[in-house]
């Protein structure tokens, strides 16, 4: 069967006209009840390897996603090798050169303590990415397990877990994170825990929802009939199917974790000094809005661009993983 696939960077034609076009692929005598577009069903039955490859192609065909992917690779490079590349030690003070405007010697200028902002912005990459990745990993691990157990077990287990998630969701996550940080104290490790914990419910909900719908499928019943254990069924059959949604969510989760880290830093609840963290740099530069605006400009831009990149990648992944959303 010919697949009628539109590259996802060009939007699909209006489904009403598409219906007729897609129908063109139908053999005589087969009557389509309504305007279902056949390629949707096909992707579901594709083999996983194929799906990943397809996804990858689809992703890199999206220009915005590709650019953001390259940018994120660059950020990762900076996070890993940044300290070797910075012109100055990001945490060494030079009281004789405080609050210098951007120049050849200090590309982004210096802060109150004479620390080189360019070096600190680069050093901040590591903090933000670390918090982002680790926090998402924590949230993902716990959230997926809780969601899987709740969705699969059902009954009171489900009720207890989901009510717990409701409780956490009832407090705005940034407020919960701030309260947690106030309780735990400063530090990047604590920020990871705080931000990770508050985003558990999102993943739990997504996974549970997916499991509830997948559970109905025949192949799960089949797996059970041939005597698979529950554990095996969850991890071999159910989770891989929910994976695409989780991946998209996790990518977007990194961007919100980066934002939350910055917010905590801004409020003075982030890292221990003199460690370089973008939000913390912003929070401390607040007073220099007139005297040294560059102290505010670059860390803010670093946060925005990083978050933007992860958001774009998340969007691209969603489009690549879910053909239906390509319409959007």
């Amino acid at each position: 069967m010919t697949e009628f696939d539109y590259p996802q960077d060009t939007p699909r034609p209006d489904p009403s006209s598409l219906t007729h076009l897609a129908d063109e692929t139908m053999a005589l005598g087969e009557r389509l009840p309504s305007g279902d577009i056949p390629d949707f069903d096909e992707t579901l039955h594709e083999k996983p390897e194929n799906q990943w490859l397809e996804m990858w192609r689809s992703l890199i065909a999206n220009r915005a996603a590709l650019v953001s992917l390259i940018f994120i690779a660059f950020l990762v490079f900076l996070a890993v090798f940044g300290p070797l590349l910075t012109p100055y030690n990001p945490i060494s003070t030079n009281m004789a050169a405080s609050l210098r405007a951007p120049s050849a010697a200090h590309w982004f200028g210096t802060d109150q303590l004479g620390m080189d902002i360019f070096s600190r912005v680069i050093a901040g990459t590591r903090v933000s990415l670390t918090v982002g990745l680790l926090a998402v990993s924590i949230a993902l691990t716990i959230g997926v397990i809780l969601g899987a157990v709740a969705g699969y077990a059902g009954g009171w287990v489900d009720s207890v877990i989901m009510r717990l998630m409701d409780m956490m969701l009832a407090i705005p996550s940034i407020l919960l994170a701030i309260t947690l940080m106030a309780a735990l104290g400063k530090g990047i490790d604590k920020a990871v825990i705080a931000i990770g914990l508050v985003s558990i419910p999102e993943y739990a909900r997504i996974v549970r929802g997916n499991i509830l719908s997948i559970k109905q499928n025949d192949y799960i019943a089949a797996a059970r009939v041939v005597g698979n254990t529950d554990f095996r069924i969850i991890f071999r059959h159910i989770l891989p199917n929910a994976l695409s949604v989780i991946i998209v969510r996790a990518t977007l989760g990194i961007s919100s974790a980066v934002l939350d880290t910055a917010a905590l830093g801004f409020l003075g609840l982030g890292v221990q000094p003199p460690q370089a963290e973008w939000g913390d740099m912003l929070g401390r530069a607040r007073g220099f809005i007139f005297q040294a605006p560059w102290t505010l400009l670059y860390p803010g831009m670093a946060i925005t661009v990083t978050v933007l990149a992860f958001n774009l990648l998340g969007d691209g992944l969603r489009d690549a993983l879910d053909p239906k959303s390509r319409v959007k």
């Binding site: 003070t93 000094p273 607040r286 007139f290």
Partner: protein, 522 residues
């Protein structure tokens, strides 16, 4: 349906009523407007809400600034120093043994609620801060009245305060803006906590309203016993952010601001506004934890002090708006002497000294909030010092905490070096130098207990005011400097920005702003 109609008419009537009131007050406001180009409202912006307006229950500068315009104490400080002057007490006599103080009270003074000020009121106010009535949240009760034995009403215009021990600083304490001001006993007995939110004093301004987090509004007390206030309304506006406060001044939303630091000075002057600066009664310091193995030794403390270029540090960090501290006492406090010198900067000597003491790692704790004596925050100061020590081969770790947590951490004592500061309460040298003798480690963060020093403190407190007493304090300073217990960093200047149209304010060294003589022209 009917109910909503009734509600609507009620709202309408209320609206009309308010409109009518506004209409009535308009002509009343007119004469002020036609009078030679002055404005009848003075708006002052500060960084935080007052904690409350009961002087016995609060401990913060933001409250204090407002309190001094509403209340008065028996005594007050002179406009330009901490010399004690009469206020609600017209005259006084101190007994020869220095244990009994008798005050003659001013006649015809009334509280804002119309009740009379008299000896009973004084007794009531002091008694509530003495055992058994005193509560732990009266932060200044023990400091101001700790030495009081009892208060005796001699006649309505005479009151005697008896002390348990000689205390030369007692007179200075009675002029303080915290604990000492006299509140209307009627207001105090009216209901719990009402004075915190609805203060009633005898001062030149009466309280009107307090919108939490927004502003506190005062209006002139037309029945004031002394010279009446020049401007009718005083509004204290709360604008938390430093830069925002400056913008508000530049944009003429407010007439005067405080809590500013070097970073915004240019903006104030370039915006056509003026900068007020005066020496501040405070000290910003670093303390060694003298109970640790590392710093119980004077030589080790000296070596670290030698590594730090305080001069350069203060210049870059505070940009000329803090003076380098050569000693603990601010220059205008009795007992200050030029001859007191701290350990001098000498990186080479520091290196050898530190090597000799075997110091390679130091653990510091610091506060992350700006403080009145350190606008740059303890963290910035700690980081700068970390930089200096790095240069002489010592690695420092900094743990920073917000101010609340920091105070708890200081009390725990798990640090080699810590940062703190002190704002003078009463201009008496004891108020500063007693810190190094205090048994409470949350006051004496160097945890220094030196018998010689403690003896010196005790003796000076009993010496009557005068040159002899001042010399005793100078000697104490020299002793502490030689032991290198603290590294005094700076004295923050008192800074305020104001519009050129504003005149007559008194920004006192105690950090209080007296508004009764303020005039704002158009």
């Amino acid at each position: 349906m009917k109910k909503s109609v009734r509600l609507l008419s009620l709202v309408l009537v209320a609206a009309l009523f308010v409109a009518a009131l506004a209409g009535c007050s308009a002509p009343a406001a007119k004469p002020a407007a036609t009078a030679p180009a002055t404005v009848d409202t003075f708006t002052y912006a500060q960084g935080a809400d007052p904690r409350g307006l009961d002087p016995a229950l609060v401990d913060d500068g933001e409250s204090s600034k407002i309190i001094v315009n509403i209340y008065e104490g028996l005594l007050k400080y002179a406009a330009d120093s901490t010399k004690v002057e009469p206020s609600l007490a017209e005259s006084w006599k101190i007994s020869d043994d220095g244990l009994s103080y008798t005050f003659k009270l001013r006649k015809g003074v009334k509280f804002h609620d119309g009740t009379d000020f008299n000896a009973e009121a004084v007794k009531f106010n002091i008694d509530r801060q003495l055992p058994p009535k005193v509560t732990p949240d009266m932060g200044y009760a023990s400091f101001v009245f700790g030495s009081v034995k009892d208060v005796v009403v001699v006649d309505p215009q005479t009151v005697t305060i008896n002390l348990t021990a000689k205390n030369t600083a007692f007179m200075a304490n009675l002029a303080m803006s915290l604990a000492a001001p006299i509140i209307s006993p009627k207001a105090l007995t009216d209901g719990s906590n009402s004075v915190m939110e609805k203060p009633v004093g005898t001062g030149p301004y009466k309280f009107v309203k307090w919108a939490k987090g927004e502003n506190v509004v005062l209006v002139r007390n037309d029945a004031y016993w002394g010279e009446k206030a020049k401007t009718k309304n005083v509004v204290f506006r709360i604008i938390a952010d430093n830069s925002a406060r400056v913008l508000a001044l530049n944009n003429k939303e407010v007439d005067m601001i405080d809590g500013i630091d070097a970073t915004v000075v240019d903006k104030i002057t370039s915006g056509g506004d003026k900068l007020y600066q005066a020496p501040g009664m405070n000290v910003n310091y670093m303390a060694y934890n003298t109970t640790t193995a590392m710093f119980k030794d004077t030589a080790a403390r000296k070596a670290v002090s030698q590594a730090i270029n305080v001069d350069e540090l203060v210049k870059s960090l505070y940009q000329g708006y803090s003076e380098k501290a050569t000693t603990i006492l601010p220059t205008f406090v009795p007992g200050y002497d030029k001859s007191v010198k701290q350990v001098a900067y000498d990186a080479a000597a520091a290196k050898t000294g530190l090597a000799a003491a075997g110091i390679t790692k130091i653990h510091m704790i610091a506060y992350s909030n700006p403080r009145p004596y350190n606008a740059a925050t303890g963290v910035a100061l700690a980081t700068a010092i970390q930089g200096y020590l790095q240069k002489v081969g010592v690695e420092c770790t900094i743990d920073s905490f917000d101010w609340t947590t920091y105070k708890a951490k200081v009390k725990e004592g798990n640090y080699d070096m810590a940062f703190y500061g002190w704002i003078g309460d009463n201009g008496d040298p004891d108020n500063f130098l007693n810190l190094l003798a205090d048994k409470d480690p949350s006051m004496n963060i160097a945890r220094w207990q030196d018998p010689v020093y403690i003896d010196m403190i005790k003796k000076a407190l009993e010496t009557p005011n005068g040159a002899a007493r001042d010399a005793e304090y100078t000697a104490m300073e020299k002793y502490a400097a030689a032991k290198a217990v603290w590294l005094p960093i700076s004295h923050a200047k008192t800074l305020a920005g104001y519009r050129p149209q504003v005149s007559g304010f008194n920004y006192h060294v105690t950090g209080n702003v007296f508004c009764s003589k303020v005039v704002v022209t158009k």
